[in-house]
Point group: C2
Chain length 160, copies 2
DNA sequence: ACCATTCCCGACTCTTTTAGTCAAGAATCG
DNA sequence: CGATTCTTGACTAAAAGAGTCGGGAATGGT
């Protein structure tokens, strides 16, 4: 899992569409400008979002894109899955000595760690809706965000 | 953030060393065999771990590697940082329209989302020690782990 | 009917990152 | 001395990521 450009851009685009929800379709060109996403790349990303059923499109003169559901009904997890496949791929199958004898020779106590992480991330993404993002207060980039302090103060969730 | 081979391997190696902790130094050759990590790759990874001060080494006939601290004192976060730099890089600086006007043109309500995720992941890694991994019950790969069900049942942590 | 607008879509290129190999050298033990 | 084992940088090959390009097909306006 890595925040690729596709994910970042898709999120920007979807947020913009969420804000425009209810109004007229927004053409790719406009989205490109307002969100600082390379022009030709926008269509590519929107196409994936469309195939995943998250947006619908209208061709012709005053065409463009609209969300196909309300912003409250669309989660970040869906967006991520639409553009980059699985949110968190199976590590176990990927490297030397995985899969077939996934136990890595000494009883696999490691894969649960990645799986737990995957569930954590996926769970997080599933809990964030476009509506929530659109509503979120802007944060200065690099500034220590308030929630971080709150999170640190919070009692540590047990991991084992 | 992505579980690269380096991270996966480093974790295997460190787990093996954790199990051998207290005994004689373990040579790279042996680790390679027991953990199914390509031979020449092992040294490279161990070197990074050494530079980060997580392991120490002994040359010569009965040399090898040992943890430089007790397994309880070493977290996954340290291991990840040792081999792959930051656990979660700053997304804001990376793509078109980031950084300088990080607000993505419409008040950056997105970067907090990534930062939150980063904190979540980092926090998780910081909470997992080698000792915990070594003690963890092996899980069949692909089998639905018990903790997953537990996690799903758990009341959703508020994300906003 | 025609034309401008806008989506559709695959193929292609360029760059960066990842994964892994190799070979020469330096310390240490017996 | 010589076997063993770490040290280190350079090197390569493959994959993933980021972005471009160009032809085509629907739609709406006039």
């Amino acid at each position: 899992m890595r925040i690729t450009s596709s994910i970042e851009y898709a999120t920007r685009l979807m947020t913009a569409l969420a804000r425009a929800h209810g109004g007229a379709p927004v053409p790719a060109e406009r989205l490109s400008e307002s969100d600082n996403v390379p022009t030709d790349y926008v269509s590519q990303i929107l196409l994936k979002l469309k195939r995943a059923g998250l947006v619908s499109s209208q061709r012709g003169s005053s065409g463009g894109y609209v969300l196909s559901r309300a912003p409250e009904q669309i989660t970040l997890a869906q967006v991520v899955r639409a553009v980059d496949g699985d949110v968190f791929e199976d590590v176990c199958e990927k490297y030397h000595g995985g899969a077939k004898d996934c136990r890595h020779q000494d009883g696999c106590s490691i894969s649960p760690v990645w799986q737990k992480l995957g569930a954590l991330v996926t769970g997080y993404f599933e809990g964030v809706t476009l509506a929530a993002i659109a509503a979120e207060a802007p944060a200065a980039c690099g500034a220590e965000p308030k929630w971080l302090a709150a999170l640190a103060a919070e009692p540590q969730r047990r991991t084992t």
